[in-house]
């Protein structure tokens, strides 16, 4: 998952980083890498091409902000353009002028319709205090009715079933009538999965729509969809048309470029994301987050923005230089821990990054470890902080005692520190000016740190020398483990 964060986009960044201004030439390099990122994220080829044109115009029209690195500026341009394309204004569910709100879910086989019916019903009941009725109108797939009935039971929400042998459109009509009689204020129709090229079944869907007049048809799409997403979404929209899209299975590591394609060809918004198999795994769609995901950089933009407001640029720049020369000492280290703390609770900050957020769910840690690190450094003399090499065993004992830690903890801290110092200086030699980002592991290392400074470097999230300068996606586990071990204070 960590390699989500590296790859093409970092190439884009590197192509531009260190340049003073955005010029046609360096933008061109960045553009090429962004195009690659989009294609690897399954954004439709033609959509990616149009988008790139748009970005080019925007990027070259930009005034160069003095304070901001062109690389970051470029990424922000791309990100903003993508966000605009994905979102614009927020759209919710339609409203029913009178009577129950009728929603109809449709989509390809296995996309997640039935599960999403359950999730939506739950959401409407819990968050919107509605009284929904689910209608089981998939009469094709074996046990589809049972599936919805089971979900309804789990939720305490009524499910309308009709096993009389009536056809799906008729069952839907009966379901809506049933809802009116029983004063339900929302009806959700679960339809069978079908291929957009199956004329017969598409006609059936159109029939359901004609007879029940849903206020909104929701197209349920799998986030793992590839290039064919445009074909199916287009036909579904032509036949129905759709009100909006639910993007399912976003809890995986698919970059979800199909979302962009679907939005582009239908012109309809994405309303919700399914983020798990459980019935409360439904989230309202968040365009900036999705944009980051498609680009493969998580919420790094918002992180950058946030960081810009707490980090002293000049200081950061100075540190970056020192750091890359291997002159990084415990005072820098301490300052970084402080910065990191000011960004907010660690878990939340890191949670903004996909992959990491997931990894953190499994780890039991809090900011205590950072406090301990701080305490240990604070127990060092200024001389020790500036010249860590002089910290011998006697001094270590004193530091341990002074900070209320085991000697082992001090050993580890110093070891971690040295590893990081070494890694940083190697990176410096590698010539990645603006690097430092979130440490060294996996894809992390290639991330632009806020303001091109040492930024979030902090206490070496990474394993010794791993990732960083190589720019090559690492096996997800390695970075993960290093990080996890560190947070648990485990000896490596």
């Amino acid at each position: 998952m960590f390699d989500l964060l590296s790859g093409a986009l970092n190439k884009a960044y590197r192509a531009i980083v260190g340049q003073k201004v955005l010029t046609e030439a360096n933008v061109e390099d960045g553009i090429r890498a962004v195009r690659q990122a989009l294609l690897e994220a399954d954004v439709n080829f033609a959509v990616a091409r149009d988008f790139i044109e748009d970005v080019k115009q925007r990027a070259l029209g930009q005034d160069v902000l003095k304070a901001v690195d062109p690389g970051q500026q470029f990424i922000k341009v791309v990100h903003d353009a993508l966000t605009a394309l994905l979102g614009g204004e927020k759209v919710g569910l339609p409203v029913a002028p009178q009577g129950p709100l009728v929603l109809m879910l449709a989509g390809l086989q296995g996309s997640g319709k039935t599960t999403t019916c359950g999730k939506l019903a739950r959401w409407l009941k819990e968050e919107k205090k509605k009284n929904p009725l689910l209608v089981a109108a998939d009469l094709q797939r074996p046990a589809a009715v049972d599936q919805l009935a089971t979900l309804g039971k789990q939720l305490g929400i009524e499910v309308f079933t009709d096993r009389s042998g009536a056809a799906a459109p008729e069952v839907c009509v009966r379901g809506v009538e049933h809802a009116k009689r029983l004063m339900h204020d929302v009806v959700i129709l679960d339809t069978a999965g079908r291929l957009h090229i199956d004329d017969e079944l598409m006609a059936e869907l159109a029939d359901v729509q004609a007879r029940t007049k849903p206020h909104g048809v929701l197209l349920v799409c799998d986030a793992m969809l590839g290039q064919d997403a445009v074909n199916s979404a287009k036909v579904f929209h032509e036949r129905l048309p759709i009100w909006g899209v639910v993007l399912t299975k976003t809890d995986g590591d698919a970059r979800g470029g199909a979302a962009l394609s679907i939005k582009k060809v239908t012109g309809r918004p994405i309303l919700f994301c399914g983020s798990g198999e459980k019935l409360d795994d439904l989230e309202e769609f968040d365009p900036p987050r999705m944009a980051g995901r498609i680009l493969g950089m998580g919420d790094v933009v918002s992180l950058v923005e946030k960081a810009q407001s707490v980090i002293d640029e000049k200081q950061a720049e100075k540190e970056a230089k020192r750091l890359l020369k291997g002159q990084f000492d415990f005072e820098d280290f301490l300052r970084q821990v402080g910065m990191l703390k000011r960004l907010g609770p660690l878990k939340k900050v890191l949670g903004m990054l996909p992959g990491v957020g997931q990894a953190l769910k499994e780890i039991d840690f809090d900011d205590k470890r950072f406090k301990r690190v701080e305490a240990m450094i604070q127990s060092m003399t200024v001389k020790e902080r500036r010249h860590p090499d002089i910290i011998d065993i006697e001094r270590r004992r004193r530091i341990a005692k002074g900070s209320g830690n085991e000697l082992q903890a001090v050993h580890e801290l110093i070891k971690q520190f040295k590893t990081m110092q070494k890694m940083m200086s190697q990176l410096g030699k590698g010539g990645f000016g603006g690097l430092a980002g979130l440490g060294g592991a996996g894809g992390f290392g290639d991330l632009p740190g806020p303001m091109g400074g040492p930024g979030l470097g902090g206490p070496g999230f990474g394993g010794p020398g791993s990732g960083g300068g190589s720019g090559k996606p690492q096996r997800p586990q390695s970075g993960n483990d290093a990080f996890r071990d560190f947070m648990r204070g485990r000896k490596r």
Binding site: M1, L39, Q147, L148, G252, D253
Partner: protein, 310 residues
């Protein structure tokens, strides 16, 4: 192979696609950069991803070396390059030397596992083999009922427990039953899971270990069902399922749509898995052995009166 079905599904929208390809190959177009760009687009459209770019690169080099000069030569070139990447991709099912053959079926959510199992059981049944199913998806609502319905339709046995049971326990029971009942082939269903969910992948690993322990040499096949509409994420899926469950082959489901399943080429660039079957519909007979030639022809839309003569 009967590729009628594969193309029947494509018939309606194929015209449109074919039009694009016809423009590309027909009408005396020149082989130039613009042509190569459009070709790359066509290959990307089939989810070939970077493999598509590589093939276009290869074409470009061949063109620069004057090994080929006009667009009419391109289809044969592409065909050859695609087939080269599918060498040994066709493969039959492994069989236990003695005792029951165990086939474990894995994959992400909704890819088509349970339906493919029913289809596979049907094939084996027609082959005269005694088949037993194991309802290893104890998680999803009515997953057990779904497989049970298929077993009933086929008139074959099924080993199951209640929803919420330990899937490893179901696997254990199913193996025991297979041995006791003199079963030829045991096919084990599993719950859909995203390869990023560590706990669920661990659970799958446990199922594999239970099967290994129960029947030496088993599972003889671990089939990963891949939805043909899947994009580049398919590669990660194959890697992770391969690492955890030791996948031995792919089943490419939902090939009856307009998706071409080109992600298989991306997968094979990293993991040399054979494709054992393709799914071409929701019916019990809609499973066919994979044919590399037909697959490539479908990508290039050459087949059955398509735009280009092959």
């Amino acid at each position: 192979m009967v590729f009628g079905k594969l193309f029947a599904g494509l018939e309606k929208t194929r015209k449109k696609l074919a039009a694009g390809l016809a423009r590309l190959f027909g009408g005396g177009r020149k082989l130039d950069e613009a042509f190569l760009d459009e070709l790359e687009e066509v290959l990307y459209g089939a989810d070939l991803g970077p493999t598509g770019s590589k093939i276009v690169e290869e074409l470009k080099h061949a063109w620069q070396r004057r090994e080929l000069e006009e667009t009419a030569q391109v289809p044969a070139f592409l065909r050859e390059r695609l087939l080269a990447r599918l060498r040994d991709a066709e493969a039959g099912l492994a069989r236990a030397a003695s005792g029951p053959t165990v086939i474990l079926v894995v994959g992400v959510n909704g890819s088509g596992k349970t339906t493919s199992i029913a289809k596979l059981a049907r094939r084996l049944q027609l082959d005269g083999r005694k088949v037993l199913l194991g309802a290893g998806d104890t998680f999803r609502a009515a997953a057990v009922e779904q497989l049970t319905l298929w077993a009933d339709r086929l008139g074959i046995g099924i080993v199951k427990q209640a929803t919420g049971a330990d899937p490893a326990a179901v696997a254990f029971d199913a193996c025991a039953a297979a041995k006791a009942r003199g079963i030829d082939v045991l096919i084990l269903d599993t719950a859909g899971r995203l390869h990023t969910q560590k706990n669920l992948m661990d659970e799958l690993g446990k199922v594999v270990r239970v099967v290994q322990k129960q029947i030496p040499g088993a599972p003889h096949e671990v089939l990963q069902v891949l939805d043909a509409t899947t994009g580049q994420n398919a590669i990660r899926q194959a890697k992770e399922f391969g690492a955890v469950a030791g996948v031995t082959g792919l089943v490419l489901a939902k090939m009856d749509g307009t998706a071409k399943g080109g992600a298989v080429l991306g997968i094979r660039a990293e993991v040399p898995l054979p494709v054992k079957f393709i799914g071409v519909g929701e019916g019990i007979d809609d499973l066919e052995p994979f044919s590399a030639e037909d697959f490539v022809d479908a990508i290039l839309t050459f087949g059955r009166g398509g735009a280009v003569p092959s």
